[in-house]
Structure formats: C-alpha cells, structure tokens
Amino acid sequence: MTTPADLKYTKSHEWIKQEADGTVTVGITHHAQELLGDLVFVELPAVGRKLKQGEECAVVESVKAAADVFAPVTGEVVAANADLADAPEKINEDAYLAWMFRIKPTAPGELAGLLDAAAYQAIADADRH
C-alpha cells in the first residue's frame, strides 16, 4: 500500500489529516498495523481531554502485542471513532480510513514539524530493511 501524499506523519507511526475546519484527524499507518498484526482492541482518548504533543493518548492491542498512540500535536480531543470499539479490525482493513480521534490544535505551528509522505516512507522502508 502506498503512503498517501495528502497526509502528514510522525516517527511513531501516526498519520495526521488536516481538515477544512481546522481540526486534525489522527490514525495509525498501514505500516504500524502490519507490525502489530490483527488488532483486537483499541482504547481511545475521551472527548474533551487536553493533550500535549507526544503524550500517550490511545492504545492499540493485537493478540500478542500492544502499542501506545501519541498525540501528534497539542490540542483538545473533539471526537473519537466509536466504531472501532466493536471493530478494531477496520484498522487492519484500511488504516487510512479507520481514523481514531480528532484534535483541535492549540499550537498550529507544530503541524509544520510533522513528516511528509516521502520522509515517513523512508522510515517505514528502513524498518523493513
């Protein structure tokens, strides 16, 4: 699967989509779900929670692995994808469609520091050797 060019990325394997209303949508990358394997559980941050960039705010769990998801930018959680509670496998099916939560950034300058698709692709490739 190609890494979508219209998204931003982090080294810790989150993808970030800048929405028209100024919020950002966050999920984990295709590469991340591949590393984890079949997901069985997703824990999402509560709406209203204020996050700092880099803060642990969600957990993805497969049968024999678990990983934290980090806030890519500082801001307040304005939405969480409740569909994932019953169907975490949606992340395996299409990681870029199965968003996890949405943040209203309070430090928009942080967005410029995120990785573009090419830079993230290089990290993922290096992971795979």
Binding site: V40, F41, E43, E61, S62, V63, K64, A65, A66
Partner: protein, 457 residues
C-alpha cells in the same frame, strides 16, 4: 521426567560465553550490605531420614488445638481426595506454564477454576489467581484507579481486615494513591451508609466493601454499592468465598453489582499454614477485563476445530506491555488453585452451601453459649456469618492464655487493631466443630471468668 541440573562444566561454559569469571560476579550490582552471606538458621546438608525426624519434631511443637481463630484464614474440613488428586505429578510438578499451550491439562484446570469462581461471585470474568487476599485487594485498588481514570483516592472501611489495609497501603502509596478510612458503627459493627455522605462527590475512584467484614458482621452491601455507583465510584468487594454459597453474590448486589471482587481463596481446600501458601482470587465485570492483572485462560478451537485452552488477553501482561503492564504479577498460585478447583468440584454448590450453613450455625450456637456466661457480651448487634466479636471484663491476653492452657485457641485479640473495643476477641466456629467442642469452650470461659477471677491481675 528426569531433572538434571547443570554440571560444573555447563556452568563454566556458560560463564565463559558471557565473559564472567564466577557466578558471584553476576550479583555485583547488589550492595554488600544487602547480601546475606551466612544463614545460621539453616543447617548443612543432612539426609532425608534426618530431615524427616527434624520436621516431625518441629511439627509436634505445634501441638493439637481446638481452634477458634479465624480472622482471614479458616479451618475447614478438606476431603482426603483433594490433596490426593492435587499431589499427582501432573499437577504437583507443574508451575505457571511458560510454554502455556503445551500444558493443556493445567490450562483446562485453570479455566474450570475461573468458571467456578465466576459462577460463585456472579461476575463476568475471573483471573487465574493472585498471591493472597491482601495483595489481591491492593491489585483491585490499582485496577479501580486505572479504570476510573480521574481519581486517585479509594475509600476503605475500617472493617476491612487490618492486614489487607496495611498491605494495600504499602503497595499503592508509591503510586500516590490514598486509601481513605471510612469509620464504622461501634454499636452494629458495620459501615453506616449515611455516614458516607461526607465523602460524596467524584473525588474517589472506588469504595471497598467487605462481606462479611473483619468482625464477621454482614455489611449493608446493597446500600453501599448503590451509594458508590451514585457517586461515580467503582465498588470493590472483598468476600469470603465459602460465604458466597449462601449470601447474595457481589455480581448481584444493588445497582448492577460490584465492579471488582477479590478475596482469600484459602477456605477452599487449602490447609491452615503459617505464611501460606494461600491464594487470592479476583473477578470483575467484562468492561474492566483489560485493566485486570494476572493470567487469564480462555477456551478456543484449534486449526481442526477441536476445543483447546490458551492464555488470553496477554497484552495486559508485562512480557508484552513491559512497564505499562496492569501488574508486575504474571503468575498464579497454581497448586493452591488446583486444590481449590478439586475442592469445589467435589463439594458442588450444594456441598459448599452445607459447609457455609453448618459454619454459620456453629458460630451462632457458640456466640449464644459464650454470651450465657456472666460478663460476656457480643460487641456488635449486626448479623454475622461464621465469626463474631465478644467483650468481657478481663484482659484478652490473659483469657487467651488461660484457654490455651486447656488446649483451646480461643480467638484473636482485637486490642492492637481496634483499641476502642476494649477487651474484645474475634471468635470463629466452622463446620469442623462439634457441639461438645462448643460446650467445652463455653465451660472453660465460664470457669476462667468465674468468682475466683483467677486471670485478673
């Protein structure tokens, strides 16, 4: 299966491979002040015959007593078949399974244990056990704080076993979790729901509810659970497993029941022993299962569709979650749980209920006989399960001493933990006592407290 320890050659080869000169070098990081160089209490190697004789002599020093001490560990009849089966090599030599799925027998036993405990507590899920009742309460406190997410204080009534409170405090204090004491009614011996009002609000993660409590008294569990729920707290039940055969299980307490249930599993087929090994049990509602510590065995099917057992939800555990695991405990009390599973299977729900009823009846009969002795009164008016507190006009230590001289372990002094109760003693009678045992106890108490007042200083 032969057990062959590594030879001196093996040890040398391993040390050479990692570039260390001696085994002691592996413990370099431990400061010399913390090292135990000599163990004066441990004799040099002796033969099996000598060990047998030594242990017999020590066992005889324990003596044979008519025991009325409860207070968290209880004397129950254990059918001979329990340990006959539990000590079969297939169970006895198995430890917590590291290559878990290769040990289908052990996993099946744990699964059946979990199923029985889930049924006994009326909860959704049970883990494969914890160390003991006290540490199980500590784990439940940590779990409740994780599940609650915003509060780091937990309400713990003074009617919870003092040792459980001490252990829980030790374990949780470095995580900045406060255990806040809830007072009890000194007339009735349990928590008064109205007295909780001063704690109302959302600053507490959970309320601990013991049933029966340390005094043997039944708490108003429905009111307490409903109050906790109403105030946004979880309910942690601390229960005696035998009592659950006749009392309403925590899963059926008011307002949807308790959220987490823990307790000491010793009454289920594990003999009394100083220091154990005993085992703790823990059950919870499905929504909190990912916050639960310990191992959980699940049933599944293999590639050919045959049923099989497996460790499940392992992402909670430290071999996967590392420092963020739900607990540093990733084991279970395999042998004690094996005995409990066999005990429960042999007795069945009806047998366990008969044990509970007989214990309750004996406790009531003994309380009646003791309180017929002039000067002896029940400390509390609340209903009890198989334990009760009596007060009398003599120092408790003297009373216990005088009873012991007659071969009777009369109970547990309450003086240290509950000085406000004066000369008070916690007394337990289980199904193991006969009518003449109760009569003998009462007769001696009457004689000791009699006109000569021999025990009074």
């Amino acid at each position: 299966m032969p057990f062959i320890p590594h030879t001196e050659d093996d040890v040398r080869a391993m040390l050479a491979a990692i570039g260390v000169a001696a085994i002691d070098d592996l413990f370099d990081e431990i400061p010399a002040s913390l090292r135990n160089t000599a163990l004066p209490g441990v004799p040099p190697g002796i033969t099996e015959m000598e060990v047998t004789r030594l242990m017999q002599e020590r066992a005889e020093r324990d003596g044979r007593w008519l025991n009325f001490i409860g207070g968290g560990a209880y004397e129950h009849h254990i059918p001979a078949a329990v340990w006959q089966i539990a000590t079969r090599g297939e169970f006895y030599s198995s430890y917590t399974p590291y290559q878990a799925e290769a040990s289908q027998g052990t996993l099946q036993l744990l699964y059946e244990y979990q199923s029985m405990m889930t049924s006994l507590t009326a909860m959704d899920v049970t883990n494969a056990s914890l160390y003991d009742g006290a540490s199980a309460l500590a784990e439940a406190v940590l779990m409740a704080v994780r599940a609650h997410k915003s509060a780091k204080r937990v309400l713990v009534p003074a009617t919870v076993h003092p040792m459980y409170r001490a252990v829980a405090r030790t374990i949780v204090r470095d995580q900045n979790i406060d255990l806040v004491e809830v007072p009890y009614c000194t007339e009735c011996g349990h928590v008064i729901p109205a007295a909780l009002q001063k704690f109302a609000g959302r600053d507490y993660a959970a309320l601990v509810v013991p049933q029966p409590n340390y005094f043997g008294v039944l708490e108003p569990v429905d009111e307490l659970t409903a109050w906790a729920k109403h105030n946004g707290m979880l309910t942690i039940a601390v229960v005696n497993p035998t009592s659950l055969a006749i009392l309403k299980p925590p899963g059926e307490w008011a307002a949807g029941g308790a959220d987490i249930v823990v307790g000491e599993g010793q009454p289920l087929g594990v003999p009394l022993a100083g220091g154990g090994p005993y085992f703790g049990f823990m059950a919870c509602r499905n929504e909190y299962v990912r916050q639960m510590p310990g191992r959980i065995v699940g049933r599944t099917v293999d590639v050919d569709g045959r049923p099989g057992y497996t460790l499940t939800l392992q992402a909670r555990e430290q071999h996967i979650r590392r420092s963020k695991a739900t607990s540093n405990i990733c084991t279970n009390q395999g042998l004690a749980v094996t005995a409990a599973t066999i005990y429960l299977a042999l007795l069945g729900p009806e047998g366990l209920a008969r044990v509970a009823e007989a214990s309750h009846a004996n406790a009531l009969a003994l309380a009646h006989q003791l309180c017929a002795v002039p000067g002896v009164t029940r400390a509390f008016s609340g209903p009890v399960f198989h334990e009760f507190v009596v007060q009398f006009d003599a120092p408790v230590a003297d009373m216990l001493h005088a009873l012991k001289a007659q071969g009777i372990l009369g109970g547990l002094a309450m003086t240290r933990d509950y000085p406000e109760l004066g000369n008070a003693m916690l007394v337990c009678a289980t199904e193991t006592k006969r009518d003449d045992d109760l009569g003998r106890y009462a007769a001696h108490m009457k004689r000791i407290l009699g006109p000569s007042r021999a025990v009074r200083a």
